[in-house]
Every structure is written in C-alpha cells, then in structure tokens.
Symmetry: C2
C-alpha cells in the first residue's frame, strides 16, 4: 500500500485567468476506504474548461478558496475494495479530483475497458468531451450528408470530435482555432476541409471563404464575438448549438455579459439550442458503442496534450485556460 497522497489545491480564490502560482501541492495520508468504498490510484487526470466555472462556484457549489481542490474526472485502478461492485484491478472513471488517490463509493463511476480503447480516451473522445460532441452533432444539430458544419475550438476534444462525427455523417466541416499549428492539426489529422485561425487579421474574410455558401450548423464552444461572427456566415434557418463559453470562464460575473444584436439571429432565422452534456447521460452507452469502433479503426482520431506528475497540474490547467493546449489536456500519473 502507498502511504502518501499528493493533491493540488488553490492558494487563494482565483480572479481572471488562473496562473500557475494560484495552485500548490499538498501531501496527506492515503485515505482508507470504509465499508462500501474502494480506493483508486489515478493514472490520468482530465483538465477541462468547465473546471474554471466550477472553481468560481458557478455550478452548484460555493466558490473554491485557499486549500480547496478542484474537481476533475480521472481514470485509475482500484487498488483496494470494500465495495461489492468493484474489484481490485478494475479500471474506473470517476470524479477523482486533482490528486493521486481517491476513495470512491461507486457513485457516477464507470468501469472502463483497456481492450476497447486506450484508457486516456475514456476522458476525451470517448468521455465527456466526446459525448458533448456526439450529442451536438447527432441529437441537436442532426448534421446531414452534404451540409457544411462549422465548429470553434476545433483542435480541442469537443471541437475535433464534433467535426469528425460530422465528417462521418457526410458533411463538409470547417474549424476555427487559435494558431497555425492547431489549424494544421485540424485539417491534416482530423480531416476537416478547412480551418481558420481567428487570430489572423484576415479572419473574417478567411472564414467567409472557407464556409463558402454558408454553414448549416455551428457548434459554439466559445460565445462572445466568435458567435456573432459565426452567425454572420450561417445559412438562413441554420442551427447553432450553444455549448461552451470559453470567453466568459475567466471573467468576473459583472462582465460575463455579451453584447449582442438580436436582429442578427432573427434575420438569419437561426435556431439556437443550449446543450448541457449531463442531459445525455442516458445515451452514454449508445454514444460509446457508436464511437468506440470508429476510434479503434482510426476513423475518428484524437490528440492529447499531456504532462507527467501531479505537481504540474496547476501549470497545465493555466496553460489550458490560455488556450495553449493542443488536444485534450491530461495529467499523467505514474507509468503510462
């Protein structure tokens, strides 16, 4: 049995974009599972944009402060079990947090199978980001063959998976990303028809040219002006899936307002739909059964942005928040 558990916690309440110095590592005894619980040694910690509003207390809890550990999905091995449903040696995904070990009672815990997919994929393309992308492309936008689909944050796990599902459905897909490197990844690795760098001064013309006759749907990971620009190239009656608000995550409450002329969606006859991934929990098996064979066959690809070592968690999260990650942000613990 290991005896020390390292976790990463906040040094203070965070304002604005998180800095590596906002986090520190602490050490404590590895917890003991009580009856009905089991102990998990984490292999992968998933870092995701939603963790920023979670830190700010914008979901159900209070804002996190000094000493608090952010939530995160993890994949790890059950190393001690006092729970009838989980055995030592099982690999599980659950909300383990920013730490090396966690005790779990089996709530919202899924056994994962390394024979069907790489373990880390259960946090990305086959995990919550993948389910988000699938729900958007299949259930809300209902992308059809011959359509043009547009997606922002296209190099990230939601955007890349959304686009590749749309391609599988016969659509032409255009991505939006924040660097030339990301744009190359999106077209060369993920097979999008085009990817536009929104940091270029010619962005609006580039977007117009890439989209051509107009986008039938737009998956919005970003909000703000990027949504307005995407509405500008949406076809009449096109669908917009409102899903992520990266532009807002590091912004104080009072400024999380977005200036928007509603005349634009009216003129476009846009259909805008809000997406919250938790609604699709009942379809998780359907999603997995559809996507896992495509991932195994290499027809849907994924890229990961990894660091190794619990002590690098805060720094890696700050990098994600600056948009510098290329692919799914993961912290790897122990031997990969």
């Amino acid at each position: 049995m290991p005896d020390r558990n390292h976790r990463v916690v906040l040094c203070r309440a965070i304002e604005g974009v998180p800095q590596p110095e906002d986090f520190r590592m602490t050490e404590a005894a590895v917890p003991e599972p009580a009856a009905g619980e089991f102990l998990v040694r984490h292999r992968y910690i998933s870092l995701d944009p939603y963790q920023r509003p979670a830190i700010a207390g914008r979901y159900d809890g209070a804002p996190l402060g000094a000493g608090d550990m952010p939530p995160a999905e993890t994949v790890g091995e059950v190393i001690r079990s006092r729970h009838a449903g989980f055995r030592e040696g099982d690999w599980v995904r659950h909300i383990g947090g920013w730490q090396e070990y966690s005790v779990c009672d089996g709530e919202r815990t899924f056994v994962v199978d390394a024979r069907r997919a790489p373990l880390s994929a259960y946090l990305g393309v086959l995990g919550m980001p993948g389910l988000t992308a699938w729900a958007s492309a299949v259930k809300l936008a209902d992308v059809q063959a011959g359509q043009t689909a547009l997606v922002s944050a296209a190099a990230g796990p939601v955007g890349a998976t959304f686009g590749q599902i749309a391609i599988q459905r016969g659509a032409r897909v255009v991505g939006i990303a924040g660097s030339e490197e990301k744009c190359r990844l999106v077209t060369e690795e993920f097979g999008f028809s085009a990817c536009v760098n929104y940091k270029r001064p010619t962005y609006l013309q580039d977007l117009q040219r890439a989209v051509g006759e107009g986008a039938d749907c737009y998956h919005d990971n970003v909000g703000g002006q990027m949504l307005v620009d995407a509405l500008g190239v949406l076809k009449p009656y096109g669908t917009v899936v409102l899903c992520g608000l990266i532009t807002q995550y590091n912004t104080p409450d009072a400024e999380r307002q977005f200036s928007f002329n509603l005349g634009l969606p009216i003129m476009k006859r846009a259909v805008m739909k809000g997406l919250v991934v938790y609604d699709f929990e009942p379809q998780r098996q359907q999603f997995f059964d559809e996507l896992a064979p495509l991932v195994a066959a290499g027809r849907i690809r994924f890229r990961e942005d990894r660091v190794t070592g619990i002590e690098r968690t805060g720094e890696h999260f700050a990098r994600l928040m600056r948009g510098e990650n290329v692919g799914k942000a993961l912290v790897v613990l122990g031997e990969d």
Copy 2:
C-alpha cells in the same frame, strides 16, 4: 375623380423616439394610373412597429430623410383601373404608404372580402400581425394543449393573436404588457389566464407567480431585458421565438447591442428561433382559412386603436412608438 392627394412625410431624418413634429402633411395631385396600373383610395393605413426600422433604413433601403414617406400596408378601394386583374370597386390590401391615394401595379396586392371579415381586420388579426402570431404559435413554438405560453406586448395585435391561438390550442397563456389598462384588456377581452404589468416594481415576482411551473414557450416581441427575464421563467427545453425588438427600434445603431449572459439559455437548454413573417407568405391562405372563421365567431378577438384623418398619422405613429396604443394602430380615412 378626386384631385388632391394628402400624404405624411418626414420633416427630417429621425433620431430616437419619433415625435409628432418629425412629420408634416403634403399635398399633390392624385396620380393617374398608367396602363397595367390602378388607383386605390385608402380607407385604412396600418401603423406597425416595423415601420421604425424601415424609416431608419435597417431593411433593404436607405434611411428616410426630409420629404420621404414611410411605407405602410393599406386597405382601400380600387377607384380607377387600367389593370386586367383588378376592377373598380374591388377592395385591396397593398403597401400604399402614409397617404390617401396610391397607384399600384398589382405587386403584393390582395383582394380582400368584407363579407368574410371587417376590412380593417385584414391589416391586423387577419393580416401581417396575425400571420406573425400564427407562424409563431403553430409553426415555430407548436403550442400544445396543457402547456403554458408566455408572450410580451400582449395587448398588441401580434401578442393578443398569439395568445388567443395558443388558448385555442388548449394552452394556458400569460401575457406581459405595460399598463393596468392593457393587462385588463388581455385577460378580460382576450381571455389570457394572467397578464403582468412590467412597469410595476413587483414585476419579477408577479411574472414568477403568473407563470407558475414555468413557461413552455415565450414569444418575444421586445428583446432586451424582457427576454432575459422571460428566459428566467422558461421551463428547461422551452422554446423562445425571437420576433420583435421594440427595445431597439428607437435606438441608434451603436447602442442596439443587448447585454446577455449566454449561460442562461444554455442552462435552460432553451431552443431559440428567429421568426421573419415574410417566410410564411406561402402559408397565408392556410392561416387565413384557419383564423377567419374563429374571428367571425368571436373566438379570436381584436382591439383597434384608431384615429381619423391623414393629418394625424405622424402623431399616431409617435403614440405607437411610446407604447401608448391599446390594440392595433390604424388611421381611418373617410367614412368608416
């Protein structure tokens, strides 16, 4: 044959809320129809909120300036025809403008039938406002029995008709209006279950109480904060039809932005749809055939806000823009 035509034109380009002094009456010879044209003597001029952005040049044309006449639908009698499709004595609805007479070539002109409905109703409940309400309730929101429908500007012709169609479909309907008088009209005359006065300090609580378990759909005639407040009482997965932007119509371009936290529609999983009535031109006959018998039977009612005399057109439009009209704003010319 009459010999003088009076029309109302702008004294100057209009900024902000129109004032009666922004308009003046001019006089000219009654025009002569050429071959393929006919002359119409207007009985009713329709005043509608969309005329404000039309004056500002926000549709297809340039902004109107000194001497320009605003557009308007009219109902009138053909008094001289050189057009094979229209006879003297026919009553027609067309875009006749703010004047007593117009020459028309038959484009976008409909013969109306006083035996099926009062002539003025062809500009309101059975005209463009009614078609807007029908498209929203039937085609976009698809209101169902047992649902709760919410509508702003509920005493106006779009809101009142939307609500009454929803009632016909078995929904419980809540209105929002800007005075106690309007709210009484909405509940007592139009049969809504409740109507909330947004000018009362207790508005938000009143709205919450009136809506109860949440609204399944909201028809938005207003935009701005009223949309935000309505989203607050929308049920998860509810539908919002974005249709009118009264809050913006008198606002300069730079300020027609609306501060909006997109987290709200995402959290609500709202489905927001833009509505432009012109898209439903092909369904106009279906709409008319459905609504005309209900109007004739008194099951869908309407209220008009009339003035008599072309010289009062500007003053009546300014009144509409201040929200002081109660019912469909009309100018009556000649004997009613």
